[in-house]
Amino acid sequence: MLSRVANSIYWMNRYIERAENYARFMGVKFNLILDMPPSEQEQWEPLLVANADNHLFYQYFDSPGRDAVLHFMSFDERNPNSIFSCFRAARENARSVREIITKEMWEHLNQVFLRVQEESGKKGWKMDEWQDFFNEVKMASQLFYGIIDSTLTRNESWHFCRLGRFIERADKTSRFLDIKYFILLPSIDAIGTNMDLLQWSVVLKSASAYNMYRQAFRVLRPEDIIYFLVLDRHFPRSIYYCLFQAEQSLMAISGKETKGNKAIKVTGKLRSELEFTDAAEIIASGLHEFMDAFQKRNNEIGAAIYETYFALKPVESFNGGAQHQG
């Protein structure tokens, strides 16, 4: 497969996953507000901080009010991570590989983008309209994966789709956990109270993990929740699961002979470290610190994938590579 094409497919999927998670972040935030006693101040800044969008935000806005944050994260073209920007980038990537992906994939992304573009011009949003919109975005992304699942041959394109999706998802799940860290409890005494657990349940819901968690553990305990979202072997949004799947796809792309493949090396290393970590250790090292370190390592995986598969290489370094191609 062409390196340029692989790159576009990978990013197309990262952007879709990103848009979905932004919708999840904001949708869940609403739920949280509705559950809070009216005396509580609405906290919108944590959304920005957890996604590292705060610096850009303050270049354009003075304070993180509800409308400003929601518009900035949904439609602002100046924000490269806004839902609008993500869908636009995903569609542009799809456009450049239309001959490789299926007609259904392209048409779906095209329609979704046109729809988001239409919504972006709308003024005077009510709370329920935002809710509907975030839900629509989430469904658009889920439908996209369904279309891939049922139309795309399990070839290299499919694996680059999965790669993009899982690397991005691992990053975002870690940020859901960070949100919990950034949302302030009214006082230190509130730890372990109803409000604390309420926030934890919201974190679970934002990752569509609430029901699955309940089935596995029943009782809401922070330690188990952290285990479930970071280390669970079977839950499709847990960080471990994402890395395991990414690693599988990398091996499917490059074959069993993986010596000298940096992408596989760094992914496998991080995955196996997680495999032998437990939730108590994560808490002991500090949840935020752990997530921060993870996000850095996950970015290194992204860089290694770029270097291994996408970067334009000069002729010399490829002469050897051309020999053992399958």
Partner: protein, 477 residues
Amino acid sequence: MNQASFAGYDPGGFYDEMFRADGTVRPEYAYLLAQLEQIPREDFLAKQFAAERALMSMGITFNVYSENQGVERIMPIDIIPRIINGEEWKRLEEGLIQRVTALNLFVDDLYHDQQILKDGVIPRHVVESSRGFLPRCMGLNPPQGIWCHITGSDLIRGDDGGFMVLEDNLRCPSGVSYMLENREILKKSFPEVLEKAGVQHVSDYPTRLLDMLQYLSGKAAPTVVVLTPGTYNAAYFEHSYLAQQMGVHLVESSDLIVVDGQVKMRTTSGFETVDVIYRRIDDTFLDPQAFNPDSLIGIPGIFEAYRNGKVALANAPGTGVADDKVVYAYVPRIIEYYLKQEAIIPNVHTYICEEEDSRKYVLEHVEELVVKEANEAGGYGMLIGPKATKAECEEFRKRIQANPRNYIAQPTISLSRVPTHTEAGFEGRHVDLRPYILYGEKVEVIPGGLTRVAMRKGSLVVNSSQGGGSKDTWVLY
């Protein structure tokens, strides 16, 4: 119930494709007309709306640039098809095969012995001063001796209904994706009519194109790619569509590299050899080493690989000489010279400004003529005398006198019209026709083509960049 009605339809003194001058319907349109007259107007509008909607959601768009912001537009489709009867088509088919066969011989001759120049059929300097003539192609032997693999010649009908060739496109004729998608859309708009009217199908074009491209390589399973300038090209949709339909890679220049004399593409597992390139970029952007040392685009060394027979290019570099509008004027003589036949489809009468008598006539009659620059396309660099101001005519007079080689003139022809949906009901709009001819093991004409429509009332300009739309083209059995 308010039917979609043709009651007040006025052919307006033009050759109308659906109605004869006496108002009776032509037989090839009879079935369609009967059906259209039974459809309530709202239903017709719903079909028209659905067609436009489908183009947008399928992303069948072309890019228009203003400043640095790209705008995507759909080329509007009018769902009333343009119909050509089988007998008339057969003649067109023969005429197009004849024309392309002769042009291929002509290009091959130009880059070898130049017998046609030695025999004085075309003045040598006309060829040598043509922008499309590439001296670097001298002595080149393209695979299977084919130069013009894909041709789209533009045809028009004048007042008497006879078809004429308006111009030839031997470089990278575009629009074939619209031919294919328009048919898909009409299958939804008028499924019963399509079935009952007996329309020849065009849907195997990608298969035929791939067969032709593979034929150019000596290998059993050659690697074929489509080469595009990229997503910002106006015709990008078509490039990607054709690659997708053929199931081949769509590559950009930066994906290709010449290694040890072979053209390779950069893949996730190293370099892979490329055998055949259907290129949709201009000759001179192919290879900076061969054509344009200052250019940053292109694949250094690809021309050398081509010359050495390591890769096939479709169309061959150098065919653009036949797109020159002065060379066009000589095509009937070219056909006669190589095939000893009279041209089956005539040219539009053309005044070659370089010839003294013609120039004199043109200078005296600019106001009545269409004047064209030799190397322009897309409706640019041209003067439509009857619609031009006095100053514009004067300007062209000066230009012709300064550089007669660069101009031709033709009488203003009122293109034929087809009923088209407008806000005011059905009205006649002027059309042309671009059929597609493939030259592989044999020369084949696809039974259909792209009918372009000047959507603006009274306009004769069908180019998509200037408000043109399109219609599906039905060729009957």
